[in-house]
Structure formats: C-alpha cells, structure tokens
Amino acid sequence: MRGLLARRMKFHLLGAFLVSMGSATLYKFVVAEPRKRAYARFYKSYDPMKDFQAMKAAGVLECAPPK
C-alpha cells in the first residue's frame, strides 16, 4: 500500500550486496594479494639446499645430525 516493506527490502538488498562485495574486495586487496606477493618474493630467491644445510647445522633434524 505504502511500499514500506518494498522500500526497506530495497535498502537492505542494496546494502547487503555492497557490504558483501565490499568486504570481499577489501579482503582480496588487504590479505590475499599481499600474501601472494610475499610468497612469490620468498620463493624467487629460495635455495632449499642452503636452507637444509642451515637447519642441519643447527641440529634440528633428527635423521641428519650436524656431525
């Protein structure tokens, strides 16, 4: 009759859409993208053998003691 439910529903549907899309976008650019960049940066210059030797020397590998 006066469109009270329709008005409220329109407002909340729009709001829900914006809030969900907004939070997803925010998460992508604040969490996901930096994480991807951090991993790419880490693995670009990662030498597993050097890391293994460091860990072996520190004595944390039970099957590969520093000797």
Partner: protein, 145 residues
Amino acid sequence: AGVVKAEDYTLPSYVDRRDVPLPEVAFVRDLSAQQKALKEKEKASWSALTVEEKVELYRMKFNETYAEMNRGTNEWKTILGAVFFFLGFTGLILIWQKHFMYGPIPHTFSEEWLSAQTKRMLDMRVNPVQGISAQWDFENNEWKK
C-alpha cells in the same frame, strides 16, 4: 440473568504497537458529554471540524502518536553502564584468583626456556614466508628492523 460480568482483561484491549496500527478498541472508553457531542459532530462533514477538534478526536481514539510511541529512551546508557560494571567486577575476581588461588605457572614460561624455544623455532625455519622466521635476520643474528 445469570451471566457473569465480563472482566476487563477478557475484553479486547487497546495497545500502542507498531505492528498493530489500528487497535481493536478506541483508547478512551467512557466518553464525557462533550466528547459524545464531538463524536456526533464527526458524523457530519469533516471539513466542518476545527484542528483542535480533530486532534481531540485523534486523542480519543489513540493514546500515543507514532512519534511518541517510537521515541527512544536512555536505556542504552543504563545497559552499557551495567555491562562495564560487571566486566570490572569480573576483573576484580580474576585478580583475586591470580593472587590467592592459582599456583605457579609452568616452568616453560621462564625467560631461558622461551628464548631457547624461539631459537629452536628459528632454526627450524618456522613460518619463513610471513611469520616468525620472516622477521629474523639470519645474516646478522638479530630481529629485522
């Protein structure tokens, strides 16, 4: 004639609620003579009524306007105050417990143990990408600035 008088609470009642816009009965049940005369005048053309008469008719039918009914209160201040009060009281209980009730914390929380533990985590390269080993400078043996 042997019929019990209907108690007030059994009759339809007036209520100010947003989801009941037109209550079952008018607010004023027993009209004075003046109000009865006004109700008679209401049966004629409404443009003959003055503004005061219209307001009087409204107040006879309804207790509060929507604005009055929906008005906010200061209840939230009381609630917030009570919440903070009881949080504070809980804090006092926790302090008492720590002082009088709990025994000593495990030896694994001592400074020596924690530093040995952290050193072992760094040796194992725990969380090297974004976590603890990423904050340690392995060349200079110190935390990264």
